[in-house]
Symmetry: C2
Subunit: 321 residues, 2 copies
């Protein structure tokens, strides 16, 4: 039995091959893995593919790539079954662990969401995103063209990386504050003040990212909010020990100097924060999510595909939109 991290990557590679209707090469697998938050180069993918071939789970078709075997399909169905449901949270925790942005030195990696729009829609998209920047995490974004080597961008599209709110969890953890993402949800805002979560989905017990679910349901009204001060945005909630609130506040202040914001509420009491339940002894922190800037783009009818909590990125390479 090999190491569980390798097993997880092998499974993910098999899933990618299985989802394709034709043989898939290492390059495409590496790109898709990066989209799913695994940073494996082509060479590393080839190494993993050889293991899969040896186990009889995949087979090679000359230079065109690999396809999955019947044995591979069976393995895929059986493998990691118990933790498929925890797949979202496990992947998020992996990214949290890899976040190392230092708010004092102002350098390091943040977690980003990656969205794709048609090239032709990019100017309009950028304008709309700028209008909604107050409800996202940071005005700084990464823009990637088709030929990018950092982020896989489909033909005819532009990739837009926005800072993901889960970055806070990574920074809190780096500073010794135990933190767990609890819920993603839809938050009502009245007179520009966050009021209460209308709907919530736990980060545990789902195989689909809660924010992705709400994005697909198009349940936000960021446009209304920008116009009238009343609307709904996407937000998420995590909890930390109450004794850590002071240190956490300090970190949020420091992050402001790096243009990283989005804090909506941090209560020093148990019970609830903006309607989301908080365990005894814990304090809930609600943060607007980076993809609100993309939610407004979708509300305008522009076709956007967003992968929340996508990968990590050097914040220094991201520029104001």
């Amino acid at each position: 039995m090999t190491d569980p991290q390798i097993e997880r990557k092998l499974i993910e590679i098999m899933r990618i091959i299985n989802e394709s209707d034709r043989p898939v090469g290492a390059r495409i697998i590496a790109d898709e893995l990066r989209n799913r938050g695994y940073n494996l180069g082509e060479r590393a993918v080839r190494y993993h593919l050889r293991i899969l071939d040896e186990r009889g789970f995949t087979e090679k078709h000359g230079y065109t790539g690999r396809s999955i075997t019947l044995k591979g399909k069976e393995e895929l169905e059986e493998a990691l079954i118990g933790d498929r449901l925890d797949f979202v949270i496990t992947r998020i925790e992996d990214l949290i662990y890899r976040t190392d942005y230092d708010p004092v030195k102002k350098q390091g990696n943040v977690i980003v969401n990656v969205s794709y729009v048609d090239k032709d829609d990019f100017e309009k998209t950028a304008g709309l995103m700028r209008s909604a920047i107050d409800y996202s995490i940071s005005p700084r974004v990464g823009i990637f063209e088709e030929d990018s080597e950092d982020i896989f961008v489909p033909t005819g599209k532009v990739g837009i990386a926005t800072v993901c709110s889960i970055t806070f969890d990574g920074i809190l953890l780096r500073h010794g504050i135990p933190v767990k993402p609890n819920f993603g949800g839809i938050l009502s805002v009245e007179n520009n003040e966050p009021v209460v979560f209308k709907d919530l989905i736990s980060y545990r017990g789902t195989s689909i990212d809660p924010i992705k679910i709400f994005l697909m349901r198009q349940s936000t009204s960021v446009t209304g909010l920008l116009q009238s001060g009343f609307g709904t945005i996407l937000a998420n909630m995590r909890s930390i020990p109450q004794s850590a609130v002071e240190n956490a506040s300090l970190l949020f202040q420091q992050l402001h100097e790096s243009d990283i914001g989005g804090l909506l509420a941090m209560d020093n009491e148990s019970g609830n924060v903006l309607g989301a339940p908080v365990d005894v002894g814990m304090s809930g922190i609600v943060v607007s999510v980076g993809v609100n800037a993309l939610a407004v783009v979708e509300e305008y009818g522009i076709d956007v595909t967003t992968r929340p909590v996508s990968t990590i990125m050097d914040y220094g390479t991201m520029k104001p939109l």
Copy 2:
């Protein structure tokens, strides 16, 4: 402090009033409550409204109806906060408790989903539903016109009640078998055989019904399945003690004589069933959901609104489509 069941109904009535942009009368509230699984007559609603008036949470505007007060809005935000997240499962458990269909006497109530389509689309809808009946629970449905007194039907629409898979949970419980709905999900079918859950969402830890989430994401491919034997359907999974499997099997056989089916898997082993995790000592039961027949209608581009696990209905009043 009044009884929690009454408090829950008061909150739900406040939510309905709060969601409306004009004052709402008792009749409309009663209709909407029924859609949400609460069977309160107009008279009972008036009784609850008087309590809300006395507490200063609602106010009466002559004959036009009630609106919510600022105090009521605040109450709504604070009230039942901890259990909002369990709202879906609590409502489902309430309906499970009220299911009393007897497979031997062949009489009693089942749980139904309610869907709405335009009158003009009804014939087409009925045809499509018939084609997918093998992936639902029962060929018997309830059809309701605008003037129905049983189910609220918006103007220009037809209401279609389909037997909900949660009915099984109610019948198992009535027969002394402890049962809990665990997950709703998307199930892959190959060569007409159910293979594995592709995605799962727990019935706990969400304020939106998992099946509704999957319906809105239009993640099924029932059409493909009907054509080629390969596709994806909606299904859910519950678990019972392993020692109860024999009795449960007998019940499922008896229910077949009432045209109630849809069982996809019942494993006598722990670990997993079709990829959904099952606790030690428990046995997982996977059932296709009644709204698959509506999923195929949506796949054809017909506009359908579905409320899964809507209310209970006398099975004797439901007829083959």
